[in-house]
């Protein structure tokens, strides 16, 4: 069988191919099933899910109350649940408190609402500094939190997954739920960005 590559494979490429081929031979994995999962997390599950949760909370006070009290159940009402979202805690940004999330030990992240985490979230610099210098990290992301505003850092445990409910920006009073969801970014639900009103 001729290789489709016109260059040597990288070390991880070799290892992945070797593992996958061995496991297929032993009848342990089905590559087609894996393809589907990859596609799901590459194209279907993502921050647009969390944005819907946020927009619902902004427009429905009872939903927001449920969301803050029992995150998993409320998020589940919108159809988002599953792996890495079994135990959700939603923390609300207010005029008094700004929340930021991290997993210092690995990469814990709420997949059903935000999809897979970005590289910077999983890498050493963010994991190290989010807990010791959150205001510095936020400033690097362009978020200047006033000195008199409390910053809360939530470090995920192996089981709990957090999501930030960002503040609804002024000037959005006339937008409907779907239009509001379009404003909500992934970074605002991690706590390293604020939601911007449309220009």
């Amino acid at each position: 069988m001729s290789s489709a590559h016109n260059r040597p494979l990288s070390d991880p490429e070799i290892r992945v191919k070797a593992l996958e081929s061995l496991l297929v031979e032993k009848g342990l994995i089905d590559p087609k099933a894996l393809d589907e999962l990859v596609d799901t997390y590459e194209t279907k599950v993502g921050p647009h899910n969390g944005a819907q949760v946020v927009a619902r909370a902004w427009t429905d006070a009872d939903y927001k109350k449920r969301l803050l009290e029992e995150g998993s159940a409320a998020i589940g009402e919108l159809g988002f649940s599953g792996m890495q979202g079994e135990d959700m805690v939603v923390v609300e940004n207010t005029s008094e408190v700004h929340n930021i999330l991290v997993c210092t030990l690995c990469s814990c992240y709420p997949w059903p609402t935000l999809g897979l985490p970005p590289v910077w979230y999983k890498a050493a610099p963010y994991r190290a500094r989010a807990v010791s210098d959150p205001r510095g990290v936020l400033a690097e992301f362009g978020v200047d939190v006033p000195e008199d505003k409390e910053v809360r850092v939530w470090d995920s445990t192996a089981e709990v997954r957090y999501m930030v409910l960002p503040e609804r920006p002024a000037g959005t009073e006339k937008l409907n739920e779907s239009e509001l969801a379009d404003l909500v970014t992934r970074d605002s639900m991690i706590g390293v960005a604020l939601v911007q009103a449309p220009v």
């Binding site: 494979l9 070799i14 894996l34 210092t104 994991r127 990290v137 690097e140």
Partner: protein, 103 residues
Amino acid sequence: MNGIHDLGGKHGVGKLEVEEDEPVFHHEWEKRAFGLFFGVAPHGFFNLDEFRHSIERMGAAQYLNTTYYEHWLHAYETLLIEKGAISAEEYAARCAEVAAEAS
């Protein structure tokens, strides 16, 4: 454990680097590395805590100098061999074959 993975508050681990609009996966092999977890997990060779722990056992220099999905590869290699799903010899042999086929 007091390993390198316990990064909270550590100095000297580099500057925050953010890639704008980064793709979910940066290489085809990363997609395969991601998918493999769900193929292997149901067989019960290891659970998620063991998976994390195998990465935590990597060693500080290697941990900091390899990428996230390379950590996952390390976990599969470590655990699948430790648990007897594959042997170190057949894995090494297959890696050599794959490398030879491509060159």
